[in-house]
């Protein structure tokens, strides 16, 4: 049972890492700000979510697990708001040119 | 005894990079960044001393940790003062170049003429 749980954790974390690598690759290779933001949100939301999911079976208490989920929720919220602000600023920059 | 030699070498390299940046960077803001890099490197050296003092069930000696926390806060206050000075210099002189000739070539902005009285 324990090995299965550890395997599941490792699998989820590995999948999260794949999304992070994809997000970083997108950040480096995409041509402009809006597409790069698109790549970053994948890393932030899904990647972090998978890592948190993988870490949840490893924590020693419900409260720590809830804190991990709260961290993920805060990052989601923050990255959504900031992406929207950056996108609007970049759009306005482009309009000006 | 936890092995912290590699940590120490990395921190020493950080301090060296910061010193190089402090001397070489042409803009004061970059010098400020380099100063902060030196600061974090020096604090990491403190942290190595703390880690080597792990005893009595603690992972690291608490006294250097407290000193570093105080140091981080004071370093931030100093950075804030330096940034305020930089902005004031920009307002008054229209440039932050410390080298007068380099500044005079390209500057024309910032015309607060009251000066620092």
């Amino acid at each position: 049972m324990n090995t299965l749980v550890t395997l599941a954790s490792a699998g989820a974390i590995a999948a999260g890492l794949v999304f992070f690598v994809a997000g970083s690759a997108g950040l480096l290779r995409f041509p402009d700000t809006l597409t790069r933001l698109h790549a970053l949100t994948k890393a932030d939301n899904v990647g972090l979510g998978l890592i948190v999911l993988g870490l949840l079976p490893q924590v020693d208490g419900v409260l720590t697990g809830l804190k991990l989920i709260a961290i993920w929720a805060l990052v989601l919220f923050g990255s959504a708001a900031v992406s929207q602000l950056i996108a609007r600023a970049s759009y306005r920059d482009r309009e000006r040119r | 005894m936890p092995d912290t030699t590699q940590f120490g070498i990395a921190s020493a390299v950080l301090i060296g990079l910061g010193i190089y940046g402090l001397i070489v960077s042409p803009q004061p803001l970059r010098k400020l960044l380099a100063l902060n890099v030196i600061g974090t490197g020096a604090f990491l050296l403190f942290g190595i001393v703390a880690r080597r003092g792990a005893a009595a069930g603690f992972g690291a000696d608490p006294v250097p940790q407290a000193l570093v926390i105080t140091g981080i806060v004071v370093a931030f206050a100093a950075t804030a003062l330096a940034a305020a000075l930089l902005l004031r210099l920009a307002r008054v002189a229209g440039t932050t170049a410390l080298d007068r000739e380099a500044g005079a070539e390209g500057s024309s902005g910032g015309a607060d003429e009251t000066g620092i009285r």
Binding site: - | L33, P62, I72, F76, A77, T96
Partner: protein
């Protein structure tokens, strides 16, 4: 223990980002890279088993310093019409390189020459911990064992603030720092601030409260509270306080004042300056910490807000 490869990998990453901060041409890129550098250094602190310091580094060293320097870089770009900076001469570069290499070499020699046994104060700290009623040794060192240091640090913070305020132009003397932020009250930033600030205040108070027994404490909690106020200001939901306001000035000195008052009271009626009697130690320490948190939060906000530029 961390596997050696992980240690080495993180060490190389930290050095690489620091090199980018120093060598890149663009000032903005350097500041953003510095924020990332600060977060990695925070990770290094966790690897050194110093979690309180890691939180302080992430919050103040990386976060607040990043906000401060990014704002400064933006204002400098607006106010200066500098052309590209003059290239530093090769001679200066060589000298700088030699100085840097010498210092690094000396430090590496010192680190490698560390002996097998290390001096440590951990046993004494652990032995005196029950008398303070705290569970977190770092908080005990900050407020009890090295209390005078923390008291003087409060004074240093106020002095830095006075230095910043003294740079005001004549017309704005004693006024409000910074420019009025104009954000769309129906926009994304205002919505974000309205939702996040209550949660952030709760997290900040929790981090401060839990610092008595777990990693956390007054500085970390105060930084989160300061960040929430800054967010509210940036979203246009609150304005920077005028520095003439009595309430602001009262809160700024409250930390040092309460500390000093408790110390002098203990000098008069107790065993000595800041020698907490074991019966009341926890209560006194928590009282001092509450005043400290409020002071540090307001001080951090005003340090970032900067020099007064508007009339009060």
């Amino acid at each position: 223990m961390n596997p050696a490869a992980f240690d080495l990998g993180i060490a190389l990453l930290v050095v690489a980002i620091a090199a980018f901060v120093i060598f890149t041409r663009d000032a903005y890129a350097a500041v953003v890279a510095f924020v990332a550098y600060g977060l990695l250094v925070s990770l290094r602190w966790v690897m050194l088993h110093a979690v309180d310091v890691a939180m302080t580094e992430a919050a103040i060293g990386s976060g607040l310093t990043g906000v401060l320097l990014l704002g400064t870089a933006a204002r400098l770009r607006d106010e200066c019409a500098d052309g590209p900076p003059a290239r530093t001469g090769t001679g200066l570069r060589v000298v700088a390189g030699i100085v840097a290499l010498t210092v690094t070499g000396l430090l590496v020699a010192a680190v490698v020459g560390f002996g097998e046994t290390a001096p440590t104060l951990a046993p004494q700290a652990a032995a005196a911990l029950p008398a303070t009623g705290l569970g977190n040794p770092v908080t005990a060192v900050l407020i009890a064992y090295r209390a005078t240091d923390t008291l003087l640090e409060k004074v240093v913070l106020v002095l830095a603030l006075l230095g910043i305020w003294s740079l005001a132009a004549d017309g704005a003397w004693g006024g409000r720092p910074g420019r009025k932020q104009r954000a769309d009250p129906d926009g994304g930033l205002a919505y974000f601030a309205r939702r996040l600030v209550p949660v952030g205040v709760l997290v900040g108070l929790y981090v401060f409260w839990v610092g008595a027994n777990h990693p956390g404490g007054a500085f970390q909690g105060a930084t989160i509270l300061a960040a929430m106020w800054l967010l509210a200001m940036m979203a246009g939901l609150a304005d920077v306080p005028s520095i003439r306001e009595v309430r602001v000035r009262a809160v700024l000195v409250a930390g040092a004042a309460v500390f000093l008052a408790v110390g002098l009271a203990l000098l008069g009626f107790g065993d000595g300056f800041l020698a907490y009697p074991p019966a009341f130690a926890k209560a006194l320490i928590v009282g001092i910490e509450v005043a400290m948190t409020a002071t540090v939060a307001v001080t951090l906000v005003l340090l970032i807000a900067g020099t007064p530029e508007r009339k009060a």
